[in-house]
Amino acid sequence: MEVNEQLIQAIAKAVVEQLQRNGGKSPAGMSSANAGTQSLAGKTRMRPKHSYEGAVRAKQGTDPKEVVIGVGAAFQTEITKTIGGIPLDEVLRNVKAGIEEEGMVSRVVKVLDTSDVGFMALAAAKLSGSGIGIGIQSKGTTVIHQKDLYPLTNLELFPQAPLMDLTTYRKIGRNAAKYVKGEKVTPIECTNDPMVRAKFQVKAALMHIIETEQLDSEKGMIVWEGAR
């Protein structure tokens, strides 16, 4: 059995190599796209490492009106749109606008310690003068957190990034600001697409790899005012 499997693999490999040498033309008229899949072997990164040389470490906040927004390591650098295709510049603009509409102040940091959105949001909350923070991954997944909560709990979680729109991002800003003010907050209504995993999970994995490979724990959290 083992011999047969090895033999088949060897033949398949030889055929693929032949096809690649032929530039996709094969005697049977089979296109190379169908012939086998070794093209990714040996590849170890998605994107080159970004330099944060000279970046300024974000300071502990003291302003009780502040909401800190912690964005992902690839935010506005390697990744410019969410998994649903919304430009990250617009995402950030709307979250900030939401915070300001409620009379609070926003501050953006880039989180280079972790790409886990729960921990990103908690880190932002701990840095925030009010104790309220928002974590936004580059693929768009967002959490509102508070500094005293357990890492894997939260005030509000928006796990299905492909369903997000700019109105929701604005509401997230507003609700975060309302938590700062200690108001009775009605959480933003949940949305659910039961087919989201089928359509997006592989893409989500690739985007998360791009984000994670940009981590630089030496730098920690840095001041972030948009693309640099």
Binding site: L40, A41, K43, D116, K184, P194, M195, R197, K203
Partner: protein, 554 residues
């Protein structure tokens, strides 16, 4: 290029909306094996494992060390490792080799050896293996009970209907995490309306989940996640040791508990260490075994989109279910997460567990329409109930469900809604109106129900935790509101924690609260004429699907 109409038609098929990716072992996109997987080996010196799968003890990460110290029977290791992997694979399929003998052999092998064994099996052989290695004689099924509004009344009604339909366990979770106390309580109440003895859990942040369990608002726990690489463990603020402690915390209060793991989580977290999904999952399952857990929920679970995206991914999913059974663990075999737009593909995937039977074929069949499934969609949902019942009947297979009548469904849904209404009133929580109970009784999903005051609900839920409300308070509330039989059922569920028998491997309870587990009702399959067969009363029940032609009135 001028388009072929045939190819255009094919491009429009649902399956082509699914995500597929080539194998890329460097990033962990490899299902069954990776060129970077270690080769099996073991060295035992003075009763200690000093080398595991090619790695010396001083180079162990904490997962290796945990496995070496707690997961492998050292007295068996050298003998088991000497048996060729092909021979172990053949014994798994051989009807003349008993489950017990295989458990004995497997108790001494390493994770890399397990990977080698599984790679020798095709999917049919894996199914034959599962038919024999499943812990409990009778297969079972578990439901997800959730809704988009986190409406506790709907949770109770869906739980009652789900229990009536045959689920042995029911799991809830929330869109808004702070609803957890309401969700857990409503699920507990509803389940016992539908069928006494159904176990319930509330998937939440771990500390919250434990607290709900300790208070008796849930009767088991499942969401103790373990991972195959050290980095992902650390990212989750955990180690195998902390998970073992958490497991013991549940055990100390007499709660049934199982762990959770599955292919693709390390890939999604970007830390696969270039290993195959099967190898990493074997590490998870060995950790689960070593931590003393009776069981596991696995089969890629929430990362199924990744596993299903690579070649042989669905074979790997069945393979990892089988590994769980080979280690003697209860296996709740996933099928609980949507992964394909194609009805054909999603059904085919489930057949691998449905046909041989597992301890829980689904570790979350959506007992509500999928738009209400807050685990982001299950592989089967409430609209598939009749298809599923027909498949059981077609193949004479026990998938754990049964046909029901509309009258019974309406009856238990209303009863559950009224019980929750009474308990909320007695405990001074938010109001549940008659209109709301009525809407939920006849509802298919949350699109048919009334809106609740979310902000008030959340304040009341927080208050419920602060006031220290427990399962006993629920029993009292029901008993003093005229629901004495239901109060008795819930009291009986609480008693299980004192008795403790349902902590045995793969335990479920029948309608008389009697335990059926891998210990008192073990799987004794050894080929044709042995093991569990669908017959008698159960077969009559499965046959009675709705919409049969009534010959007398034809």
């Amino acid at each position: 290029m001028k388009r072929s109409k045939r190819i255009e038609a094919l491009d429009q098929r649902a399956v082509n909306k699914d995500g597929f990716i080539d194998e890329w072992p460097e990033m962990g996109f490899a299902a069954m094996k990776s060129p970077y997987d270690p080769k099996p080996s073991i060295i035992v010196e003075n009763g200690i494992i000093t080398q595991l799968d090619g790695k010396k003890r001083e180079d162990f990460d904490f997962i290796d060390q945990f496995i070496a110290d707690y997961s492998i029977r050292i007295d068996r290791a050298e003998e088991s490792m000497a048996i060729p992997s092909l021979e172990i694979a053949r014994k798994i399929v051989d009807i003349h080799t008993s489950r017990k003998e295989i458990l004995e052999i497997v108790s001494g092998i390493t994770p890399a050896k397990m990977v080698e064994v599984i790679n020798y099996l095709n999917v049919v052989e894996m199914m034959m293996g599962m038919q024999k290695m499943r812990a409990r004689k009778v297969p079972g099924n578990q439901a997800h009970i959730t809704n988009l509004k986190d409406d506790p009344v709907q949770i109770a009604a869906d739980a009652a209907e789900g229990a009536l339909r045959g689920f042995s366990e029911e799991e809830t979770t929330m869109g808004v995490a702070r609803y957890a106390p309401f969700s857990a309580m409503a699920l507990l109440i509803g389940s016992q309306v539908g069928r006494p003895g159904v176990l319930t859990q509330c998937s939440a942040e771990e500390a919250t989940e434990l607290e709900l369990g300790i208070r008796g608002l849930t009767t088991y726990a499942e969401t103790l996640s373990v991972y195959g690489t050290e980095k992902v463990f650390i990212d989750g603020d955990d180690t195998p040791y902390s998970k073992a402690f958490l497991n013991s915390a549940y055990a100390s209060r007499g709660l049934k508990v199982r762990f959770t793991s599955g292919a693709g989580s390390e890939v999604l977290m970007g830390s696969s260490e270039k290993k195959s999904m099967l190898y990493l999952e074997c590490r998870c399952l060995f950790v689960t075994k070593g931590a003393g857990s009776q069981g596991i929920q696995n089969g890629s679970v929430s990362c199924i989109g990744v596993a299903a995206g690579v070649p042989a991914g669905i074979r790997e999913v069945m393979g990892e279910n089988l590994v769980a059974a080979l280690l003697g663990l209860e296996c709740a075999s996933s099928n609980d997460q949507s992964f394909s737009n194609s009805d054909m593909r999603r059904t085919a995937r489930t057949m691998l567990q449905f046909m041989p039977g597992t301890d829980f074929i689904f570790s979350g069949y959506a007992a509500e329409p999928n738009y209400d499934n807050m685990f982001a969609g299950s592989n089967f949902d409430a609209e598939d109930f009749d298809d599923y019942n027909v498949m059981q009947r077609d193949m004479q297979v026990d998938g754990g469900l049964r046909p029901v009548t509309e009258e019974d469904v309406i009856h238990v849904r209303r009863e559950a809604g009224k019980a929750v209404q009474a308990v909320f009133k007695y405990l001074g929580l938010t109001e549940v109106t008659d209109e709301q109970v009525e809407a939920v009784t006849y509802a298919h999903g949350s699109k048919d129900t009334l809106k609740r005051d979310v902000a008030s609900d959340l304040m009341a839920a927080d208050d419920m935790l602060k006031r220290g409300i427990t399962g006993i308070d629920v029993v009292k509330a029901l008993a003093e509101s005229g629901f004495e039989k239901l109060a008795g059922n819930i009291l009986n569920m609480l008693k299980q924690r004192v008795i403790g028998d349902y902590m045995h491997t793969a335990a479920i309870l029948d309608e008389n609260f009697q335990v059926m587990s891998g210990v008192n009702t073990p799987n004794d399959y050894m080929g044709p004429g042995t093991g569990y067969r669908v017959d008698g009363k159960r077969w009559e029940e499965i046959k009675a699907i709705p919409h049969r032609i009534n010959v007398n009135e034809f």
